[in-house]
Symmetry: C2
């Protein structure tokens, strides 16, 4: 039996609805497997901007620091260039505070939802990949603060304006995320694709060198280098060819969003953001669905909670080391979907229906 403290940052839009379902599932897992999970709910995003004047307060960051993992819903509202800090800053703040450098996104279409995909079934068949996106460096975060040697600004240049952004990677920033990817590949299909643009970028040249070096410690994993433009093609043309992919921050942002569309059901996809910080039985992490806050359907009981529930499964696995429990949640979800529990529209199933079933199926699992 284990104890764990989980910070719940439900956020905006559909965030609270989907997070509530994931918390219920975790509570049920606690009962069935005899664990004690405590949940601390904190404000984040627009709600935090309203209450505290910032997207995430120092108190909330402190509460996260005292927990084993963060369960995150979604932030952001309908687009408005209004006053106050952007709600999305909360995510960047959490990523930098806890140095969450590895964003893990498993992409595996549900067979039962085959027809929801824009891809023909024969192209989709066998797709089961995990993206490992570097999340702490690259072109990101220059805009948040002035970093020496890493300008991100708009400045005068003669009679006109010029904008500059800076892409940097140190060897250690590359190495740690590449190690994570090799480890994940070692526990799966033992194939790793490292994605870069080495024919144009110096950072990609360094990236390749580090990958070649780390690969020597993982002789059981077959790996390859692939250019990002080629990868964008292959993801659509032959997604089933991939096992684990690792890439830098912005390439990862673009490619994971493209790949998640293959499944046709972005509402079902989970993610984990991990760093070096350890918990008693694993790594500290932030867990959130891949989808956004969808303000247009917020509060209507229409949002698909499965992305968040599967994120909770990743939380059990990576932060709490509860592998059996994680698999139980995943199997329950799979069975519920297989059993046809969803509305006619694949992307949004009736929340109360899927919850009831999720919990019941979980019970059956054990």
């Amino acid at each position: 039996m284990s104890r764990a403290a989980i910070a719940v940052l439900a956020g905006d839009g559909t965030g609270p609805e989907v997070t509530a379902q994931a918390v219920e599932v975790l509570q049920r897992v606690g009962e069935l497997f005899h664990h004690t999970f405590t949940f601390q709910h904190c404000l984040v995003g627009l709600a935090a901007v309203k209450a505290d004047g910032e997207a995430i307060s120092v108190d909330t960051l402190g509460a996260c620091a005292r927990s084993d993992a963060i369960l995150f819903g979604a932030v952001g509202g309908t687009l408005h260039e209004g006053a106050g800090p952007r709600p999305e800053l909360a995510l960047s703040r959490l990523r930098t505070t806890f140095d969450l450098y590895a964003n893990i996104r498993p992409i595996k279409p549900f067979e039962a939802l085959d027809l929801a995909s824009p891809l023909r079934s024969e192209y989709l068949k066998g797709t089961d990949m995990v993206f490992v996106r570097e999340l702490s460096a690259g072109l990101y975060y220059g805009h948040l603060e002035t970093v020496a040697g890493k300008p991100s600004e708009i400045r005068r240049r003669g009679a006109q304006l010029e904008a500059i952004d800076t892409l940097t990677y140190t060897e250690s920033e590359i190495e740690r995320v590449v190690r994570t990817a090799f480890e994940i590949a070692g526990r799966r299909g033992r194939r790793l694709t490292s994605v870069d643009k080495a024919n144009v970028l110096s950072s990609s040249v360094l990236w390749r060198r580090v990958v070649d070096r780390v690969a020597r410690d993982h002789p059981a994993v077959t790996y390859e280098h692939m250019l990002v433009d080629t990868c964008a093609m292959r993801l659509i043309r032959s997604p089933a060819d991939f096992d684990v992919l690792v890439t830098e921050n912005l390439f990862g942002d673009i490619l994971t969003d493209a790949a998640s569309m293959l499944t046709g059901s972005i509402g079902m996809l989970p993610s984990a953001s991990l760093g070096a910080r350890r918990t008693e039985h694993g790594l500290f992490g932030l867990y959130e669905p891949v989808h956004g806050s969808a303000p247009d359907i917020a509060g209507l009981n229409l949002a698909n909670p499965i992305g968040t529930i599967l994120s909770a499964a990743l939380l059990l696995r990576y932060s709490l080391g509860l592998h059996r429990e994680a698999a139980a949640v995943e199997t329950a979800v799979e069975e519920v979907v297989q059993a046809g529990y969803r509305t006619a529209d694949i992307h949004y199933c009736d929340q109360s229906e899927s919850t009831v079933v999720g919990t019941r199926e979980l019970g059956r699992q054990i």
Copy 2:
């Protein structure tokens, strides 16, 4: 009747075969429409490296400068980290020498080839978009030369190495390509999507401002801003929603390759790279198929010449101002495909057969 000088840079792999077919089509257009086209063939790529020790010689650049347009095949061979300059340098050299800042890629699947696409027909239906990719700035070209304030290098940082690349855009670099995109949109469906990452990059913030400013000169065109990650999703989920897209260099590299896969027939796709330099009746430009040199099938008479033939059509339109002639070539290609002239494998049709038919159909056109 007009005269035009065309530099033919056939290059490596299947480049010579496909270029030869496009030249034949241009010659036939000349006969039928009473124009005089002269062709100057020059070495480029691996062949040039062998002959001159560089991917493209100053003499060849000079020959290009004296012509109205460049018809380009493909460069590069089987991957080898061998001695000598990389054949791909020829393309960068041409882009910078002639300041070819706008890369135009029309993406319109052939109805007859519907089944070649990984996308289900109902998603693909109605897809007809034109990408305008900025081709002169961004993260590119720092590696070619040392540009003040734009480092691209691997350097020491304390005990380890660090790599840096620099993304820059001036207002005028953004403005000229955005103008090109608005003009193209004005002659098509009057909808423009500008793609950026304004929630992270300063260069994207400047990009948006310039787009908003240029838009005022084009009140008839409806435009929107879209984040690059969202765009990567929408291209797969609802490609038919797009008309014209404009974006910075690297985003364009990734997104156009992804989008070209939608058609399932990359061998059929043409491209044009245009700059400010004018010819008598249009803009100087470089025209090349989207596909690469495919060394594995080089010389086997298997390569699909249609991407290059359609590039020749773009050459007629943009550089020579011969709109009727360009449309005739496009219609001929469409009819040939419609009539089923291709091998069982959609991607590679028998070259001699498609040539014969291409010419005959062209004849019928007139």
